[in-house]
């Protein structure tokens, strides 16, 4: 067993979660960020690991945001799952390491999350990478003619 998921013990969810309601303030913060995005184009990123969530708060927040049309998985230093919520411009970016443990969970309010863009540093090596594939002697995977 590499993680804790195999242990069949879970925190008991309090009977009346409405008494806490830590998810609602985040939804209001998202609303403010959306207003900023629409008015000025400025994107916002909220790190949910710094929020004092209780049992069930994260589930209530994600349920409140719903699921949208786009899903993507980035395979770099472990999987990162990105999906647009039912609110256009509001994205959930879930970073995991190679062992499947969560590194961070962000809500990005942007036209497109930053990590989905091709980064300028990677783009700078793009021509050389393609050239290497066009040259059969460079050891790179050869293109079929």
């Amino acid at each position: 067993m590499t993680g804790l998921h195999g242990i069949p013990v879970r925190s008991e969810t309090p009977a009346d979660p409405a008494l806490r309601g830590n998810a609602i303030p985040i939804l209001h913060e998202v609303r403010h960020a959306l207003e900023r995005l629409i008015a000025t184009g400025e994107s916002t990123c909220i790190d949910l690991s710094s929020i004092p969530f209780g049992p069930g708060d994260e589930e209530r927040l994600t349920a409140g945001l719903g699921t949208g049309e786009v899903r993507a998985v980035i395979d770099a230093l472990g999987p990162t799952q990105v999906h647009e919520t039912a609110i256009p411009g509001v994205w959930l970016v879930d970073y995991h390491n190679a062992e499947g443990e969560r590194l961070a969970l962000h809500i990005e309010i942007a036209s497109i999350p930053e990590i989905l863009r091709t980064q300028p540093e990677d783009l700078a090596t793009a021509i050389a990478a393609l050239d290497a594939r066009l040259e059969p002697d460079q050891g790179a995977p050869r293109l079929q003619s």
Partner: protein, 366 residues
């Protein structure tokens, strides 16, 4: 260029890590340092140029719980931390070398990185006036080992409540004359990462901060990094709204406990404890003591072990504990009840003196 001279950016690129992977690493690092995601570009720029610092880790009067905590750190993994982010040149428990070879590695790292290495200490140590025989490594007293290593260190990180404040070894009656690192080190920056043990991500967060910015983070009056110890457990507790509503669990199995109400009356030290448990949590973010139904013990605060019962509310004077009442009762039965009467009088007086903390007072205090 040797591995030690390469920047982190160069090292990661050589390992085939893409820019996206690097940004992800930076996002996790920002989260670990309790910095906002808007800092990720600045962290990326700094980490791109960062070089691996040499780290020497000394363990004194401790239980190895702090190292256990570090090796449970998942963000990034400790393997990443050791191999790519820091150069851990000496650590009794984690290094492969032992005996003379281990001590030679320590001496070599101290010589080669004189003036620039980071010294991490876990455990308290017998003070200069104590019997050095209480704790030695390779025949050298903890005190001599520390002072020798401090001389060439850029800074000292005291990991765990024992190193930071004396902890359990220094608890009454402190048989070994244990003292903390900051009791002895006055001419070098000391940063305390307290907790019994500290939250693993706080340990790595402090190292990541040093690596990223080349300096130590802002500290509170106990030399703890404000990013992690700047707010009380109580302020960041998800049960805080129950406190504000006056809804308290009165026992561990009553309806209030089952409903997840505030644990203040069961002895929770959250209002006077500063730590990051409420947001960073434990065991890969699974839970933390209050979430699992137990009051905070206040383990990241000085003298937490001697600060009265773990299960007495903060508003009860520390002298009025069950032990006093029970002991007084037993003795009183033998000597005709005089001492018991005295104890009862004392408890009565303490009850009269008891000053429950109101929300307003707490807000002012915090």
């Amino acid at each position: 260029m040797t591995k030690a001279n390469k920047t982190l950016g160069e090292s990661l690129r050589e390992h085939g890590v893409s820019r996206r992977g690097f940004l992800k690493f930076c996002a996790a690092t920002a989260s670990m340092m309790a910095l906002p995601p808007s800092m990720v570009p600045a962290i990326a720029a700094a980490l791109e140029k960062a070089r691996r610092p040499s780290v020497i880790w000394l363990s004194f009067q401790e239980c190895t719980g702090c190292t256990e905590s570090l090796t449970r750190s998942h963000s990034p993994t400790v393997e990443d931390l050791i191999l790519d982010v820091i150069s851990l040149d000496y650590h009794h428990t984690l290094q492969a070398a032992s005996g003379d070879a281990a001590e030679a590695a320590r001496e070599q790292a101290m010589k080669e990185n004189h003036g620039s290495y980071l010294l991490i200490v876990d455990g308290s140590l017998p003070g200069p006036d104590s019997n050095p025989g209480y704790s030695t490594i390779a025949g050298i007293s903890n005190y001599d080992l520390l002072m020798e290593a401090v001389e060439g260190a850029a800074a000292v990180v005291a990991v765990g409540t024992c190193a930071a404040f004396g902890g359990l070894p220094a608890a009454n009656p402190n048989p070994t004359g244990a003292v903390s690192v900051m009791d002895l080190v006055k001419d070098k920056p000391v940063i305390n990462v307290s907790g019994c043990p500290p939250v693993p991500m706080v340990i790595t967060g402090v190292l990541a901060h040093y690596l990223t910015f080349g300096k130590l983070p802002e500290l509170d009056q106990y030399h703890r990094p404000k990013a992690f110890f700047g707010q009380s457990i109580h302020d960041r507790c998800y049960r805080r709204p129950f406190y504000d509503k006056g809804l308290f669990a009165e026992s561990f199995d009553d309806e209030g406990a089952k409903a997840g109400w505030c644990l203040y009356r069961l002895g929770c030290k959250g209002p006077s404890t500063y730590n990051a448990c409420a947001t960073m949590r434990w065991n890969s973010g699974t839970s933390w003591p209050v979430e699992s139904g137990h009051p905070c013990l206040g383990c990241s605060e000085p003298r937490f072990w001697d600060a009265g019962s773990f299960y007495a509310p903060l508003s009860v004077p520390t002298g009025a504990n069950g032990g006093t009442i029970l002991a007084a009762g037993v003795t009183g039965a033998i000597v005709g009840g005089a001492v018991a009467a005295l104890a009862r009088k004392q408890v009565k007086a303490e009850r009269a003196d008891r000053q429950p903390v109101t929300v307003d007072e707490l807000e002012q205090k915090l």
